[in-house]
């Protein structure tokens, strides 16, 4: 029972990190990002290949395999998600129409998922990555480890929550909300819709990257089948509110 609770709580914590990032994009800024799960996947994949042993083809193939510590993996995962978000955001946000953004992100999400599935050399194709090393797995054993990982995730949630809350209450967050309510009126007062949206998009995506890194390390496996557009939609429909509490309670 306690083990089950620990597992459930860990998933809740990881989901909370993901929700906080999505909430920045969708709740605060009104960006319907159908590729959100792509940034989670990027975080999961990149942190996994940074911490994993070098690949041993033909059984498994993937890039890097640096055998670095967990922290380096998380940093790499967040960084990769952030960089990808800058590119995707620059492509998808330059046209300011909201439905256009949704369609473009959908195409990008589906396309990248297929690419990840097809190219074995990248992240082991559709079979995905398995046996992703966990942080400090030699130090703690059994239930102690579960508690440790839960605390790690809760720490991440708290950091993300504080960052999200500070952003929301700042002039930056206020401008994002104004943009969400009426973009044209916001432009009439000198707010640049493109750069504001891009920033919200990138910050949200980096939280997705963090959530993905944690998820990959917790489950110790990650494959393209786990990140369809349906997953993003599910999260979206449930959390269409700007209140952070809702985003947390939801999962």
């Amino acid at each position: 029972m306690i083990d089950f609770m620990l597992t459930a709580l860990t998933y809740v914590a990881i989901q909370s990190v993901l929700s906080l990032g999505l909430n920045l994009q969708w709740g605060l800024t009104g960006l319907l990002n159908l590729a959100y799960i792509l940034f989670m996947a990027t975080g999961a994949y990149f942190s996994a290949v940074v911490v994993s042993d070098p690949a041993s083809p033909p059984g498994t193939e993937y890039i890097l395999g640096l055998r670095e510590p967990f922290l380096a993996g998380v940093v790499a995962g967040v960084l990769a998600a952030t960089v990808l978000a800058v590119v995707v955001g620059a492509v998808a946000l330059r046209n300011l129409r909201a439905d256009y953004f949704a369609i473009v992100t959908l195409v990008i999400a589906e396309g990248t998922q297929q690419i990840a599935g097809q190219f074995r050399g990248l992240f082991n194709g559709s079979a995905g990555l398995v046996a992703i090393p966990q942080p400090l797995e030699t130090v703690f054993q059994g239930r102690d480890y579960a508690v440790f990982f839960l605390l790690l995730c809760i720490g991440c949630v708290m950091v993300c929550f504080v960052v999200a809350e500070w952003l929301r209450k700042s002039p930056f967050g206020r401008a994002l909300r104004a943009l969400r309510e009426d973009e044209e009126a916001a432009s009439a007062f000198g707010r640049n819709p493109y750069t504001l949206k891009l920033r919200a998009f990138v910050i949200g995506a980096s939280m997705a990257g963090l959530g993905g890194s944690l998820l990959g390390a917790y489950v110790t496996a990650f494959a393209p089948a786990g990140w369809g557009v349906a997953e993003t939609l599910l999260v979206l429909v449930c959390s269409s509110s700007e209140a952070l509490a809702t985003a947390l309670v939801r999962c």
Partner: protein, 266 residues
């Protein structure tokens, strides 16, 4: 204040907003066709004309909501014809819309705060690193904000979501945002549409007060009585062209204007 004095003594004013040979067509149909006019600081100018005469398109072009096909728009001498709406706004030109557009799920106070905040303070890094300074700035803004709310009689609604306001109150809030932003060139799209006579009077007073602070106002209006009371002069458009300029009494006597309006009526 000096602007008003100069204006009333009839001294020539320096041009703040100049539109030169502006054109824009939609699907080959010209909506605005070679329009030119100049407006000086402290002037209130009405843009009138029958439906479909190109007034709204002109306003959209001037405010950067639309790009022109040809011609130039000069704001204090710099060419803004190819600037986006937000760039134009940063040069001090702001606009209102036919239907009042407030940020509905922000409170009335927040609506004013957004307008009054310096764009450079809306950075994500500052939000995390300069929290104390931002809080202090918010306090300063709030002093100004409550003065403005008091003038607009919106003080009791300060913490209400803007979407619950009545149409007239939303208009007031729009003007509050303008005051807060410190914009000096105002383009108003039918500011008196759909408001009751009392509110209309209040809005006219606000516009007059803004002019007294040196603002230039270009407004589209159908209510000719309000135009007569508010504007120093009018520009009349029909089928994308300017057909008359001058005081309302002068343009009323113009043959072209009469036939344009009659053509509309028939």
């Amino acid at each position: 204040m000096t602007f008003v004095g100069e204006h009333q003594t009839g001294k020539p004013q320096s041009t703040v907003l100049a539109v030169e040979d502006l054109s824009r067509s939609f699907g080959g149909v010209p909506a605005v066709d070679g329009v030119s006019f100049r407006i000086s600081g402290g002037e209130i100018v009405g843009l009138i004309g029958p439906n479909g005469s190109g007034k709204s398109t002109t306003v959209n072009l001037v405010s950067g909501s639309l790009r022109c096909d040809s011609g130039r728009i000069l704001l204090r001498g710099s060419d803004i014809s190819n600037r986006s709406a937000y760039q134009v706004a940063r040069l001090g030109l702001t606009r209102t819309f036919q239907i009042p557009r407030v940020w509905g799920r922000l409170t009335v106070a927040e609506n004013l705060l957004v307008a009054g905040t310096d764009v450079s303070d809306e950075s994500a890094t500052r939000a995390l690193t300069r929290r104390r300074k931002l809080r202090q700035q918010r306090g300063e803004l709030e002093e100004r904000l409550f003065d403005i709310l008091a003038t607009l009689n919106l003080t009791p609604l300060a913490n209400q979501q803007a979407e619950v306001l009545s149409g007239g109150q939303k208009r007031l809030l729009e003007f509050g945002r303008i005051m807060m932003s410190g914009a000096s060139v105002l383009v108003l799209d039918e500011p008196f549409a759909g408001v009751n006579p009392v509110m209309c009077r209040a809005l006219q007073d606000i516009i007059e007060a803004l002019r007294a602070d040196g603002c230039l106002v270009l407004l589209i209006e159908h209510n000719l009585q309000a135009v007569e009371e508010t504007c120093d002069r009018v520009i009349v458009m029909a089928t994308g062209k300017i057909i008359a300029q001058g005081s309302l009494a002068e343009v009323r006597a113009s043959e072209k204007v009469i036939s344009a309006y009659l053509g509309q009526a028939s």
